[in-house]
């Protein structure tokens, strides 16, 4: 069995597997046409109505200091919305914590199936586990310094968890290969890179040069992750 690509087999999902049955099905759509005219816009209209009548997913709680301001070294965060920065810091913290677990699951995949030429070594994956964890630890420290509670699941953290749920599911599924799992890691890294960049800019807008610098360093590390994952996937595809 190949550990880099799917092999030829008895996949039954396409119509070509059952040409006669499919022909019958198509014929049926003429005899039994849709009972009502229209298209998918009806679904879109309902989405609009619900969106207008729904409450937000959640909120960012006030600072734990109880003084009503998120601060560093006694100075209030600048910028249009300090809450936005806290929301996005909470998002990144949760993502990096989940990222640690995601790469641990990738390690299991490696341990089960082995690597492939041009793919990651065990140490490569282990290094990413350590990087993700250190980013999580750094964000915990930053949020605490700002007077925020690092254990809060902020709205953006919650939504990122919903988005990345499928990525974990691909990697922890015992049937997937290392390259298939790396595709999931790629989606995570693409998002991670963009979000660290956004955090860096938000920190600068908030007048937090030191924070922006720390986020820039994290971004540089994530850029190497992205480049590595891209390279490993390319190698698995013989590119």
């Amino acid at each position: 069995m190949s550990n880099t690509h799917a092999e030829l087999g008895m996949n039954r999902t396409g119509v070509a597997t059952s040409p006669l049955l499919t022909k019958d099905m198509i014929k049926g759509t003429s005899e039994f046409p849709p009972p009502a005219m229209g298209d998918e816009r009806a679904i879109a209209d309902e989405r609009v109505r619900y969106a207008r009548g729904s409450d937000p997913v959640g909120s960012v709680p006030p600072p734990v200091t109880g003084k009503g301001m998120f601060k560093t070294a006694g100075t209030a965060l600048k910028g249009e919305s300090p809450t936005q920065l806290i929301d996005k810091l909470g998002e990144r913290l949760a993502f990096e914590r989940t990222g640690t677990r995601l790469y641990e699951a990738l390690l299991s995949k490696y341990d089960a199936l082995g690597g492939f030429p041009g793919g990651p070594s065990r140490d490569d994956i282990q290094q990413i586990v350590a990087d993700e964890h250190s980013h999580f630890a750094m964000l915990t420290e930053v949020l605490t310094q700002l007077g925020a509670d690092p254990t809060v699941q902020t709205p953006s953290a919650d939504l990122q968890a919903t988005m990345s749920k499928g990525l974990l599911e691909v990697i922890t599924d015992p049937r997937t290969t290392l390259p298939q799992s790396l595709e999931a890691a790629l989606v995570a890294e693409l998002s991670d890179n963009d979000c660290w960049l956004a955090l860096q800019e938000l920190a600068m807008n908030a007048g937090e040069q030191q924070l922006a610098q720390r986020f820039g360093e994290a971004l540089a590390t994530e850029e190497t992750h992205l480049a590595s994952v891209r390279g490993w996937i390319a190698a698995s595809q013989g590119r």
């Binding site: 009548g53 997913v57 586990v129 630890a137 939504l159 968890a161 691909v170 922890t172 015992p174």
Partner: protein, 404 residues
Amino acid sequence: MTIDLLRDKGTSLDNQRFTWKELAQPTYSKLDDDAFTRVRVILMNGIENEALRFGHACARMNRELQLHLARVRRIEQHQATLVNWLNPPDQSPLETTIGYEQVAIEVTAAIALKEPNPYLAQVYRFGLLEDFDHMYRYSALMDRVEGKDANNLLQSYTDILPGRPTAVEHRDPCDELRIPYDRATAQLITKLHANTLMAGEHQTHDYYMNIGPTYPDPTGRQLYAEIASIEEQHVTQYESIIDASESWLEKWLLHEATEVYNYYSCVQSESNRRIKAVWERFLDYELGQLRYVADLFEMFEKRDAAEVLGDGKLPAPIEYVSHRDFVRETLRNEVHLTAVGTEFVPFDSQPEGSLSQSYREQMNAEGSPSERVARGYSWAPGGELSQQKPRTAPQAVLPNQPSN
């Protein structure tokens, strides 16, 4: 608000109506609403599903009641839907699982504290410590596979600590039956308690059976299988404490009274105004259904509904609060117990070579998922990674590792 089970008419069945949009109305917020809002939603969905389950079983055995049951069941189907659809879509199945276990801990504790029958109170404390352990195992799964903190859902009301180890909860069916209450002498509150917990546990079982196979991680998949098996035991336990000599109509009447009692409890404690309005509406619906069934009971059985419902006064509501002190005290005093027949005895005093022991050994013969998932696990705010220094991942210990 005073409820009179014998006199209140509630909303008549003809006026208990819905639209599809009402059934799928805006949800509560996983992040901002109080954890007990989720607890109430999960329990009430279980209560409504029990009404449906009972209604179908009853219909299969009672031709003359079938149309009456179908009328009431149709309404309960839609009540169940509306309530269950209050769960938000950003709440993953595992997060909802944490909510289910919080129900099992806090509601069981509230009931155990108020149960007047001392034997049944012990039955509840026994079940409580098992569900308490399930919380610990699922929290470890969430933390160690997904990197998420179960306390985001629990909001610090409920502990994440080991209870009676799930691995030793597996028992032979002969050790799962308990002594039932006596329908002629038991207080109404005893009957309402038993019906409430039976409903909650049955729903928990069914939920795990549905979502378990959607979990991809092998340990998580096994853990759902293992805990679903315990929930089946719990349903067996809780249905056995209900007097089997109650007539079908008597049971139906008690189901309706249980629904009234639970919606009443929800109304008393709900902090979300929109959801409180749902509980108020359904309390009126249930009073209407109770009236309808009480009339059937009196017509078919030629007995006064007061024989079952007493003076019609509702007992004090279920308290939706943290029961940390009570649970910990129970943990200290009773974690070492197991069941032999209908009695609770220290684990080390059960007979050697018992059916439960053989069964447990068989089920755990290839390893225990509940032990594996939580080995060395200690909850900390933000998850166990927050307590560890930046690190390297643990080395796999399996032999024959392929290399690059």
